[in-house]
């Protein structure tokens, strides 16, 4: 039996970073908002406290903070000709669950994309010609510009208190920052975190080669900070347990530490946890949402009517929510028609290991999730791609986040994979190795997409999401080029042995790379190639907004969270100042 609840103004699906911010803004504007979270309520105290929170086996290996894939898996295949199988152990990417969402276990790396990223298709055509790209590449412009988003980036960084050094304030290049960044209105709210030794080594070597090293923008804060919401954060202690873990120190910017105290104090907001949303309900025209249907933790089915529905779940779950609800035409890779699930992309990660003699002490465990040093000289379109046969790039940096004993043990090639020889090599190299990341862009490509799996269903009987993905040749070429540059930096550091591992295909879902899944509900100016308009409003059902990294038409060089925060405030601005004053389409199709 379905129990119909009292109508509210807004239902927010997923109370993570996006959901918390949207709910806070709309509740503060006087709207009745219900937040539906499938996971549990959790706070810094008691859930995130040590020593339990530093249990590497529980959190790193067994993925305690992640979506329960015994109940709600995804299936995966590399090619459309293969049969997809369920991913029963998260490895390649790690979608979180519970109050605060995936941000609870993030590293705090808080970048902006560059102006050229938002007009990538136009920019590529103009700079390199019409036929530069593989015809299967489906990159497109975002429908918003960097200038549109700049104030919203700023607002998000000041919400988080991000620690960094500006490289370009209103067009003036700032010493010590990233000279390649697009102009920002003002500096970061807090100064950069302290540089660790490997960062200092990288800075020196990269500088000697003429590159432009700068401190990684970090939302593990360098000093105490009170944000504009009046919530105070502490300084980070460099414990090296950020990614895959929650922070016990109120030092990492996550919903619990930046906005939930304000949201949860507002009587216009109601949080319901343990609620699995089954679908967004539509009326008979299929052009208007009436609310959502969800199942609570004891199996009761509820219909929550609402005037406005915002889905703000993890990227791949946003795609699935639309597919389960029948909102937007599903993408068909055979014809190239349809939009939902189209332009799924990822991130192209390569590594370089620099091995030193035992008199060089690295202490890799003294780190935060974002206390590195890096360069953007080979990122995005910051270098000339003429004749290279690819677009995009990677940032290169000594951005290693930890030295945790189970997961961190760099050894040179040729080391036995187990046994005494392996153990000896781990002991020898653990404290004398510098790891670089080459954090690379990911183009969207015709064959890569998401749809509903024809076979596998979740614990509630609904089809699970099927991901079809392999690395586009463009990105493999990019990884090879940038990794070679990174190897040169390793050599300039004076390492005894430098080993570059450029990303190669096929993509494997059983090896951790990064939790930066993007696309599938992409934004744009054309309903034929996008799911939502530039304000993140569904083209098909105007009282549904979709907010997530699923909006990215392709993935840029950098970690996606900063841009998602900017898009969130951008969409809120449109909701508050346009849509809610006069509900309807914000852009005519």
């Amino acid at each position: 039996m379905v129990q119909r609840l009292k109508e509210v103004d807004v239902v927010v699906i997923g109370v993570g970073m996006v959901g918390s911010i949207v709910a806070k803004e709309l509740a503060a504007a006087g709207y009745k908002v219900v937040g539906l979270e499938r996971g549990q309520t959790r706070f810094t105290v008691p859930e995130f406290q040590s020593p339990a929170v530093h249990d590497e086996l529980r959190f790193d290996i067994r993925k305690a903070l992640m979506q329960d894939n015994t109940r709600e898996p995804v299936t995966f295949r590399n090619q459309g000709s293969q049969v997809a199988l369920p991913v029963r152990r998260w490895e390649s990417f790690l979608p979180g669950t519970g109050l605060g969402g995936s941000m609870v276990h993030w590293n705090g790396q808080t970048y902006r994309f560059q102006a050229t990223d938002f007009q990538l298709a136009t920019r590529t055509r103009e700079r390199y010609g019409k036929n530069f790209l593989d015809p299967d590449v489906t990159i497109q412009d975002w429908g918003v510009t960097y200038d549109d988003l700049e104030p919203h980036y700023d607002r998000f960084e000041y919400l988080l208190g991000t620690s960094g050094k500006a490289g370009n304030i209103k067009g003036r290049i700032q010493a010590g920052g990233d000279p390649h960044e697009s102009p920002r209105f003002r500096d970061y709210p807090t100064p950069p975190q302290k540089e660790h030794f490997q960062g200092a080594m990288f800075r020196k070597a990269a500088g000697s080669l003429g590159y432009h090293p700068f401190p990684q923008p970090s939302s593990n804060l360098s000093q105490p900070y009170t944000n504009p919401e009046g919530v105070k954060l502490n300084a980070c202690v460099f414990c090296g347990f950020c990614e895959r873990y929650a922070c016990e120190h109120y030092a990492k910017s996550v919903p619990q530490t930046v906005i939930l105290p304000v949201l949860l104090a507002n009587p216009n907001f109601e949080l319901r946890t343990g609620c699995q949303v089954q679908r967004i309900d539509l009326d008979s025209t299929k052009k208007h949402a009436t609310g959502v249907t969800y199942i609570d933790a004891v199996g009761r089915v509820f219909e929550q009517p609402a005037s406005l529905v915002i889905t703000s779940t993890f990227a791949i779950n946003n795609i699935r929510m639309l597919l389960l609800s029948g909102i937007g035409k599903p993408y068909d890779p055979a014809t190239g028609h349809g939009v939902v699930g189209r332009n799924y992309a990822y991130q192209t990660m390569s590594t370089v290991a620099s091995f030193f003699d035992e008199d060089v002490i690295i202490n890799p465990f003294m780190a935060s999730g974002a206390s590195g040093t890096l360069i953007n000289d080979f990122a995005g379109d910051n270098f000339d791609h003429s004749g290279l046969g690819f677009i995009g790039g990677a940032y290169i940096g000594a951005v290693n986040t930890n030295g945790r004993p189970i997961q961190y043990h760099p050894v040179p090639p040729g080391t036995p994979a187990w046994g005494k020889g392996w153990k000896q090599a781990v002991v020898k190299h653990y404290n004398h190795t510098v790891m670089f990341s080459c954090h690379g862009s990911s183009v969207s490509q015709r064959q890569n997409y998401c749809d509903l799996d024809p076979t596998y269903r979740d614990a509630w009987g609904q089809p699970v999401l099927r991901i079809t993905f392999d690395f586009p040749p463009n990105d493999i070429k990019m990884a090879a080029y940038v990794t070679a540059k990174a190897v040169e930096i390793g050599k300039a550091m004076g390492a005894k042995q430098v080993v570059g591992s450029p990303r190669k295909g096929p993509y494997t879902v059983t090896q951790y790379q990064t939790t930066h899944n993007t696309g599938g509900t992409v934004m744009g100016d054309d309903p034929k190639t996008s799911v939502v308009n530039r304000y993140l409003q569904s083209w098909d059902v105007p009282n549904v907004f979709v907010i997530g990294a699923s909006n990215y038409p392709q993935n840029a060089t950098w970690n996606p969270t900063g841009t998602l925060g900017a898009l969130t405030y951008w969409a809120i601005d449109a909701l508050k100042n346009k849509y809610l004053k006069n509900p309807g389409r914000l852009v005519s199709a």
Partner: protein, 236 residues
């Protein structure tokens, strides 16, 4: 101000006569009234002269206050330093010498020492062991429970994380990073927390202790310091 100003004031005038110290302390062992703002600054000039006269090579009389085994002197808010991390002790001595931790007595001693000597004294006390000294009056159960909660779990409403998150399991300390709290005197811990809270002590990296202390009220401070004083570190 450091809370135990009255006993320190007495020290400053009497420490040249080491033998007189126990008497001075005994006289000041009655519960100390709140520090009067004028007391410590007034003590500074008086303290400076004798220290300047102390030959740098002479061993400062640590034992007079911190005890023959580094067990401290709880009633006078003097901390236990036996087996405290050498890095921590060295940093405190350096901070006293540099003026970044304010305490007229310790500043005089520390300034009279070379950096090498400061390192030597830190190492000496780090290597010492002293018997656990139970509190004369153990905390009542409800305060012990609150103290235990703050130590192990923290308090979300106050946005205070567990003490043990930095100070190690059961407050045993984390060498290089954070001093032990277990077995430390409640009086000293309370005066330290209050000094962080009112900003008179600010030699904590990243304002880590000030961020916590500013959110604790007097009852919390009494509870958590009573709890840690009740933990016998010699069990670890």
């Amino acid at each position: 101000m450091n809370a135990p100003a009255p006993p320190f004031v007495r020290f400053t005038f009497s420490f040249l006569l080491i033998a007189a110290l126990p008497c001075a302390l005994a006289a000041s062992a009655t519960p100390a009234p709140a520090a009067t703002p004028a007391a410590t600054p007034a003590a500074k000039p008086a303290a400076a002269k004798p220290a300047a006269a102390t030959p740098a090579a002479a061993a400062p009389p640590c034992e007079a206050c911190h005890g023959a085994h580094g067990e401290g002197m709880a009633a006078a808010h003097v901390p236990r330093i036996a087996r405290q991390s050498a890095d921590y002790l060295k940093k405190q001595l350096d901070d006293y010498a540099a003026g970044t931790r304010d305490n007229p007595i310790m500043a005089n001693f520390a300034k009279a020492l070379s950096e090498q000597q400061r390192a030597k004294f830190a190492a000496r006390y780090a290597a010492m062991s002293a018997p656990y000294i139970p509190q004369p009056k153990p905390p009542i159960a409800v305060h012990l429970a609150r103290g235990h909660q703050l130590a192990f779990q923290g308090d979300e409403a106050k946005r205070v994380q567990a003490c043990n998150a930095c100070h190690g399991p059961d407050g045993v300390g984390v060498p290089h990073a954070a001093p032990y709290l277990a077995g430390q005197s409640a009086e000293f811990l309370a005066s330290a927390l209050k000094a962080f809270k009112d900003g008179t002590r600010k030699n904590d990296a990243g304002e880590l202790m000030r961020s916590v202390a500013e959110r604790l009220d007097d009852a919390d401070i009494a509870a958590v310091t009573g709890y840690f004083a009740s933990v016998d570190l010699s069990n670890h």
